[in-house]
Symmetry: C2
């Protein structure tokens, strides 16, 4: 439990946002060089507080002086910046059957990455063991060691209690329920480990890379499962139990009587997920099993597949209509395997949402395909880890350990 | 436009929350006396910044020294506190056919109040003229004048663009569309005027008075209209256009083919609002027209009315299921006239939400009747005005004007 004790409130964006001291790091995280006076003015923090924090960061080698190109005569004030290459972050995107890893710098830029076939059902020790082994190989590839690592961000394909990093009743992850993921990884890599569900990290990554100015943003993943990541008022909203955005089991009209793997009937996932659309097409004689198979069929111009994907879009639209009226986003980005069917899924979603939502909510609403693509999850996982690693509490811990 | 220019970003909670200086006022708003050193330590602000802000507040008469009861020898450090009675706030809750006004102190406590019959359809100048006249009478009643007023908070029964305070296509408010409510009121009362929709101010008030520790909270009003106020991550979420929570026109299964006043069919409001339930009971021979009539019938034990209210609860539950999976609140409070039917409406909502939502989302979810009652709207309107009036930008403006 010691690792959780070391990261209680700082792991919650709301707690981070409420301490004045965190604002300094928010500013530095953009990579821009600034003077101490600028940092004090921008944050309203005491000069002494700014100096103290910069000293800590300097001692850890995370921040350093930047040469000023333009001299105006006299000794120019020293500007400091985050040294993006000082340490590396491990980002892991684990799916039902894939593992995607990357080492990034402190601004979240990928340095080296690796894909592997991973069966999440093999259980946490096997899958996380693979992650740790691959991390070592990736570090070696960069000429780095475990000592260069500052944090780990992990995305998992199921609900996660964010404050503890433990999966909660994950439907497709046998053996993972309640497993202490941060504790296990930390015992091997000895840095703070942040864990969230895959859709939340995709939402973070998609927003970071493609919608940085958008404060009200929905990311919807349509793949084996269906889920949403919600950014409201500029912050990822996880809800009381960390499961905000779990829209796959909302009932839709067309689902009436159709059994869902969750034990209920009529769920969105039972009619609009990749496997559900594939099953419908199999009944029409096609040999398809996954969302990717369906997308392949759509790309070959199969009319039945196009109609099925468009209908899945309409079903999704029924649920997103409620979401749009509820959270009033300005952008909805669709990602996940079935979203690769491009305009066909989007057309179905738009058809229902634009017809059924309050005009004021849709007037300025864009419904688009994910722009960041596959890499969004890794960017988000990296951001999660960096956000925590550069928080005052984590830096204190790092300084004490060093 | 000058009044809007004076309150651009500070009226947005996200902007307020991001400036270190605002934290000082957040602390003072609880009414507790604190030393300057405590305030500096709690906010991480420079002592000089704290001193500067306290001086401004002192000059305005809003903050003052508080006598220390316990002397530990030597000169004890002076503690300062918000002088709650220094100024008054006007809170206005305007409905389709009622106007409820109060003057409160700087902690939102009601000092004097008044109810009136107001027809919102008389248009903004008539209705707001009544507000201004009554404000003068209430001020006189307290032995105060317009100079004692520090801000006005107004709730309106329709969508409001929060950044400008202008109603946007309000269905039951002819003549109000785009009307500059803050400008009109300010021309008469000469203080900042904050305007929001009635459900948002009820959510703020209900949370302030009864659920202060609850960061993920839904307030649902079931009356002539149906709407929700959403508090996520401790903040009221208004969405991109300020209409988050507008759930009255989400389609529900039982609504199929039923025309709604919005021009669409199948809307939640078309089957579960007070007038919709009354209309259904009229078809069974009852002489009822409003939600209040329905509640009266329920209280007399009429089985048909009880069943109709419970069914309205189920319809509401269909939409709230999506909301629960989407925002994952820990408390849903039902208010508005139809919620006065007590357990019957709640039972219908609970029946559907607990059956249909993800178990993890409902395990710790309370669905309850509003505890603050009618007064929630006034508390919320007052909070909105105080939050703004004590923001750094508003205080600067106040100091410049004085």
């Amino acid at each position: 439990m010691w690792f959780n004790a070391a990261m209680p409130d700082t792991t919650r964006p709301s707690a981070l946002g409420s301490t004045g001291a965190s604002e300094l790091f928010q500013l530095l995280r953009d990579g821009q060089p600034r003077t101490r006076a600028e940092l004090a003015a921008m944050t309203g923090l005491a000069r002494s507080t700014v100096a103290l924090r910069l000293d800590s960061l300097g001692e850890l080698g995370l921040v350093g002086p930047v040469a000023d190109a333009v001299s105006t005569g006299g000794r120019p004030p020293t500007r400091v910046a985050l040294l993006r290459s000082a340490r590396v972050v491990l980002a892991a995107d684990l799916g039902a059957s894939h593992g995607h890893l990357a080492l990034t710098d402190l601004l979240g830029e990928e340095l080296v990455s690796r894909r592997g076939v991973v069966d999440i059902a093999d259980g946490p020790e096997s899958v996380l063991g693979w992650v740790v082994d691959q991390a070592d190989e990736l570090l070696a590839e960069l000429g780095k060691s475990r000592a260069d690592l500052i944090g780990v961000g992990v995305g998992l394909p199921g609900p996660v209690q964010f404050t503890t990093g433990r999966p909660v009743n994950p439907p497709i992850m046998p053996g993972w329920d309640g497993f202490d993921v941060p504790g296990w990884v930390r015992r091997h890599l000895d840095v703070p480990v942040l864990v969230d569900n895959d859709v939340n990290i995709m939402a973070l990554g998609e927003r970071t890379r493609s919608w940085a100015g958008t404060d009200h943003f929905l990311f919807v993943k349509v793949a084996t499962g269906i889920g949403a990541g919600i950014i409201s008022g500029g912050r990822l909203q996880r809800g009381a139990q960390g499961i905000a955005g779990d829209i796959g089991h909302v009932r839709v009209p067309r689902g009436e009587g159709i059994a869902c793997h969750c034990g209920s009937t009529g769920c969105l996932e039972a009619v609009a997920s990749g496997p559900a659309v594939a099953a419908a097409l199999r009944r029409e004689g096609h040999d398809v099993h996954t969302g990717r198979d369906v997308v392949e069929l759509v790309r070959r111009g199969d009319v039945g597949a196009i109609q099925a994907v468009r209908q899945a879009g309409r079903d999704l639209g029924e649920v997103l209509t409620a979401c749009v009226n509820m959270v009033n986003p300005s952008v909805i980005a669709l990602g996940g395997s079935l979203a690769q069917a491009g305009e066909h899924l989007l057309a179905g979603v738009r058809e229902v949402v634009y017809q059924r939502s309050v005009p004021l909510a849709t007037e300025h609403l864009s419904i688009v395909q994910s722009r960041t693509g596959d890499g969004a999850a890794l960017v988000g996982a990296s951001m999660l880890a960096i956000h925590h690693a550069l928080s005052p509490a984590a830096l204190d811990e790092l300084a004490a350990a060093g």
